[in-house]
Amino acid sequence: MLSPLQQRLLNDFQRDFPLSARPYQDIAEQLGVTEQAVLAAFAELNAQHYISRIGPVIRPNQIGASTLVAMAVPADELQAVADLVSAYPEVNHNYEREHHFNLWFVLIAADAAHLQAVLDDIEQHTGYVVLSLPLVQEFFIDLGFPLDLAHA
């Protein structure tokens, strides 16, 4: 169960986190609580995995080269192939999805050549072809996501 303070922190501070010497103190003043209470509430949100972190969200393609990859893997081999794929440090989101293309992950590498080398390597090691779908255009400037926390 989220406390009222945790709910405010989750919904009101997905962006514009203060860039000041003591940001948690600034938030505390805005919310009428102590800096210690803000730090404790964030620590609890972290520990319970309600947030994955507090920090900068980077626009895609700002660091190195990246792509979204899809693979169609037989169900009985999915776990083994997923484990192989997840073991690459260049892979950072790996999801199973309900579709003929049932394995989806994001690859981020230092440059385009390294990205292609990893794609080739994954094909070679798994024995399945990869569908590489790099970003052409992004339409949404992510400023956070309004959360319905009534039953969180």
Partner: protein
Amino acid sequence: MDATDLALMRATQAGLPLVPEPYQALAEQLGISAEQVMARLVAMQAAGSIRRIGAVPNHYKLGYRYNGMTVWNVPDAHVDALGAQIGQLPFVSHCYHRPRHLPDWPYNLFAMVHGKSLAEVDGQIAQINAVLGELNLGGEVLYSTRILKKTGFRSG
């Protein structure tokens, strides 16, 4: 982004330190001043390299169990205009134009939607359908059934 910016981004991907002076803690790690850390974050945000700075919620843990990747085939000539409209829908967290991969993959517009029930997501998909109208040449929704890995740099 220069090498120090990159080092700063790497240092923050696990999260800002939960200490009273987090930028000072990062500054010490990077060998620059806290003022420089903040100035670099301001500059990267102004340049658009940083989208936002704040709490990154874990939607799944917060009850958003239905996370659908909706994919659509729309005429290339209209993908920018349609993408801009879809991206503005409040329940869409990401919206991208990606290349088709014919014949296996005919879809060129991706929109991620999030709901607490299947019915909620169905309603969201109906709204996307309404925006696309006759320019919708086909679509599908791919639900994630398992998160197999989620670490490192986040793209959004």
